[in-house]
């Protein structure tokens, strides 16, 4: 996105050399622990313990502690699953697609966004397993020859989810780790503690930075980017099939796959902004994650947000156009039924407020942009709530209608996974370089060696 119109500032602040870049990024890992980090990690860890408590109760008493019941058989567990896995998509988009399109601005945010992907997928993956009722039998989800003579239903998208999410987690982890290797070697060489040298040394897998190493590295990285690219689209498409292949009005819509993918990227960029804005401030990384990055991310959010709004519009139009009474009831129930406040909040937070991003002044106003990103985080969660709960609670038979509300355990588990996510993130920031050191160095004027891949 070498935007033709305006000069949005550099993608790396002025006055940096190879050495200052390395120092600045490695220092976050190699220096003493800061108080602010301890505080943040402490809070996150407390939230994580809430998760552990909720799960402990769940294992003892079963999923009856949640708010789900017929007709709403899917509640917080699936809402949160979709929310988390959507958030992960920005990382894959940044790391894979922007690499293939030679968008060098991705460099300072890709490492961080990929880590976010991994942690978000971890949080997401927990929910379907917890929802199993007997989570210790989770391996029954996999097709393996067994004495029971039972196979999973290959026509079920829930089965495809198992493949999609596990592939996603594997490839993302590989991609992230391969990208880390040269930096792990830097940490190995700079670490002053013996333990650090040994651990980083093992993880660096003998990286010495020879031309042959770099050559192989570039090839491997490019191939992994190629493998990751379809995952940006496929994972959330399969997630959307969880709903769309059924015939429930509000779920069964052909636009679901692309509209879910756009929503995932939308939510993901909102989360990247939510996390980078405080981080770059706290660690003084404004020279690496510049206003230009922030501006680009805001633009991607605006574009994907418009696609999401298009999806809402098409659902409403086609519900009327189809002449199908169930479809039109679904829309009417969303707009005027018992959950109408949530739908209004969804439109406000996910469609109306993000329109502020049209303005350059909003995109470069950090507090305001942070507020918009938070609004989208909330809006995308509400979107899944509306899709899942509001479509289910009034089905074809009025006699079986009901209402749904999450219990304290539902909320506890959700807050708990936020704790898990943040805990992992704080550990990552402290233990690994959150910005790719060697890729940042290639952006410096000194490094006129242009990347030539494809």
């Amino acid at each position: 996105m070498s935007a033709p119109a305006r000069d949005l500032g550099p993608i790396i602040g002025p006055g940096h050399t190879f050495e200052t870049v390395t120092d600045k990024i490695a220092a976050v890992v190699l220096s003493e622990t800061r108080k602010g980090w301890m505080l943040g990690f402490g809070i996150s860890f407390v939230l994580l313990t809430i998760f552990l408590q909720c799960v402990a109760v769940l294992f003892v008493r079963g999923i009856g502690i949640w708010g789900i019941n017929i007709p709403v058989g899917w509640g917080f567990d699936i809402i949160n699953f979709v929310w988390w896995i959507g958030i992960g998509h920005a990382g894959t988009l940044i790391s894979a697609i922007l690499l293939l399109f030679r968008q060098t601005w991705r460099t300072s945010i890709n490492r961080f966004a990929e880590a976010m992907t991994l942690f978000a997928v971890a949080c997401a993956g927990l929910y379907p397993i917890l929802h199993l009722g007997r989570p210790w039998l989770f391996y029954w989800l996999l097709p393996y020859p067994n004495a029971m003579g039972m196979w999973p239903n290959f026509r079920s998208p829930l089965m495809w989810d198992v493949f999609a999410v596990s592939t996603y987690a594997t490839v993302s982890a590989l991609f992230w780790f391969v990208g880390l290797i040269p930096d792990l070697a830097t940490l190995r060489d700079r670490s002053t503690s013996k333990v650090g040298r040994i651990i980083y040394g093992i993880l660096a897998m003998g990286w010495r930075g020879s031309a042959r190493h770099w050559n192989r590295y570039e090839t491997a990285y490019l191939l992994l980017a190629g493998l990751s690219t379809p995952l940006v689209v496929s994972v959330h498409s399969v997630v959307s099939f969880d709903f769309a292949v059924g015939i429930i009005p509000g779920w069964h819509a052909t636009i679901f796959p692309p509209y879910f993918v756009a929503g995932a990227i939308y939510a993901g960029f909102a989360m990247v902004l939510t996390l980078t804005i405080p981080l770059r401030r706290y660690y003084g990384l404004e020279d690496f994650i510049t206003m230009r990055h922030i501006n680009y991310m805001a633009r991607v959010m605006l574009a994907t947000g418009l696609v999401v709004a298009y999806g809402y519009m098409m659902e409403i139009f086609m519900a009327w156009y189809s002449g199908n009474p169930y479809e039109s009831f679904m829309v009417k129930n969303r707009l005027t039924g018992p959950y109408k406040t949530l739908y209004a909040a969804l439109i406000l937070t996910n469609v109306i407020i993000p329109q502020l991003l049209w303005f350059q002044r909003v995109r470069t106003n950090i507090p305001l942009l942070f507020a918009v990103a938070m609004s989208i985080n909330v809006g995308m969660w509400l979107e899944r709530y509306v899709i899942i709960v509001v479509s289910l609670h009034r089905d074809f038979l009025p006699s079986s209608w009901g209402m749904y509300a999450g219990t304290i355990f539902d909320y506890g588990t959700f807050i708990g996974t936020i704790g898990l996510f943040l805990t992992l993130l704080f550990l990552f920031i402290r233990l690994l370089p959150m910005i790719s050191i060697f890729e940042m160095r290639t952006l410096l004027p000194e490094a006129k060696v242009k990347e030539k891949h494809a």
């Binding site: 119109a5 689209v233 069964h252 052909t254 796959p257 418009l306 298009y310």
Partner: protein
């Protein structure tokens, strides 16, 4: 300054370039095609309108895809767009011609669309429900609105592009801002145009993905067409030496992306409708999966997706102007089949057929359109003279 003028004129298309020499030929083919089709209308009026709609929608799709690509380029920038920008602008400038070419569709509303036939609507509650939207005056009003929006976009995209060429520094900002709003306007108008002109051929059927699916196909048509034109301009034209393998590589990647995008949309729609298996949704596919149409569908899977997918994986092919142009031409041919598969089974369900009018109408619209398109390339430097991403177009690695 004088050397700058020299450079600029060197980037213009010489009057004896093959693209110009085929102009009279295109116009001739168009005129003959349309004349023969009109003669055919005397024999079989209904068939004429059906064939004409198919021919129109194919060429219209290239112009619409080009409009989308041009505006995407103005918003995102990138070397890929700098080299095809003039050709995109030429394609966009054909929109007023397409508006004129749309007139026969309006004339043929009653024979094309079930909902325009009062007798059928009288016995069909569903069509009565939809008649608020699907009625002749509103249909025509919407079509006028669409063409006004697209023509306005085309006019200002051209005018400000010329202003940029003449050294107006603010023009780039104007183009960018226009394109932002323009993409939203195009998204909305194109979706409803697709619903009106193609989806409502089968007025009982609906799919929320339809507009997106058709747009995906148009983007592919436009990109394949642009690669073909750029290869011609590079081979023995002013772009030789300017457009490098790198740029073909980029264009090829985009074409590859659009091939996959089309397949992704098509598969999504098919899978969701197949698994839902609802009587109001499946007929669209049932009509297209029997009586010979299924072979055309199979062709699309193989030649619209599988074969281009495998071929375009190759980096060497994407970087070779001649080879990538061949692939693009092949894709354009398959695009014709896809539009045919989308449209014609609505008229001839469960029974595959090709009428000679399908060929002449397609040729007729196409000839006129190509004549208009090549006309747009006259008298302009084929690379924007003061495009800020031009150094990138020259030597970006």
């Amino acid at each position: 300054m004088s050397s700058a003028m020299d450079d600029r004129s060197r980037l213009m298309l010489p009057a004896d370039h093959p693209l110009f020499r085929v102009r009279p030929l295109a116009l001739g083919a168009g005129a003959i095609g349309l004349a023969v089709s009109l003669a055919g209308a005397l024999i079989d009026t209904t068939q004429f309108f059906q064939s004409y709609l198919f021919g129109f929608l194919f060429w219209f799709g290239i112009a619409m895809g080009s409009l989308a690509l041009l505006m995407i380029y103005h918003v995102t920038g990138g070397a890929w767009g700098s080299v095809i920008r003039r050709s995109l602008e030429s394609a966009v400038r054909t929109i007023p011609v397409l508006a004129v070419l749309f007139i026969p569709v309006v004339v043929g509303l009653q024979s094309l669309y079930e909902w325009a036939d009062a007798a059928k609507v009288a016995h069909d509650p569903l069509l009565q429900h939809k008649s608020v939207y699907l009625n002749v005056p509103f249909f025509i009003g919407r079509a006028v609105l669409y063409f006004v929006v697209w023509t306005l976009l085309a006019v200002f995209l051209s005018r400000w592009s010329e202003a940029q060429e003449n050294g107006e520094p603010r023009a780039i900002g104007w183009l960018e801002n226009l394109s932002r709003g323009g993409l939203v306007a195009l998204g909305l108008t194109f979706t409803f145009a697709a619903v009106d002109w193609a989806m409502s051929l089968e007025p009982h059927w609906y799919s929320t993905l339809y507009g997106v699916l058709v747009m995906g196909g148009c983007l592919l048509s436009a990109m394949a067409f642009m690669i073909q034109v750029t290869a011609l301009l590079t081979k023995n034209g002013p772009l030789s030496g300017v457009v490098q393998p790198m740029q073909f590589h980029d264009l090829g990647k985009l074409m590859f992306a659009f091939v996959m995008l089309w397949a992704y949309f098509s598969l999504s729609q098919l899978l969701i409708i197949w698994s839902g298996n609802l009587p109001e949704e499946t007929p669209w596919y049932l009509k297209r999966m029997s009586g010979g149409w299924e072979y055309l569908g199979l062709c699309l899977i193989l030649f619209h997706f599988a074969l281009p997918f495998v071929i375009l994986l190759s980096r060497d092919i994407k970087r070779n102007a001649r080879l990538i142009a061949t692939v693009a031409l092949f894709i354009l041919c398959v695009r014709v089949l896809e539009v045919y598969w989308l449209i014609t089974p609505a008229f001839s369900p469960h029974h595959a057929r090709v009428h000679w009018l399908d060929v002449t109408a397609w040729l007729g619209v196409g000839g006129v359109w190509l004549w208009a398109f090549t006309g747009g390339l006259r008298g302009r430097a084929l690379i924007v003279w003061n495009d800020p991403s031009l150094p990138a177009a020259g030597g970006h690695a």
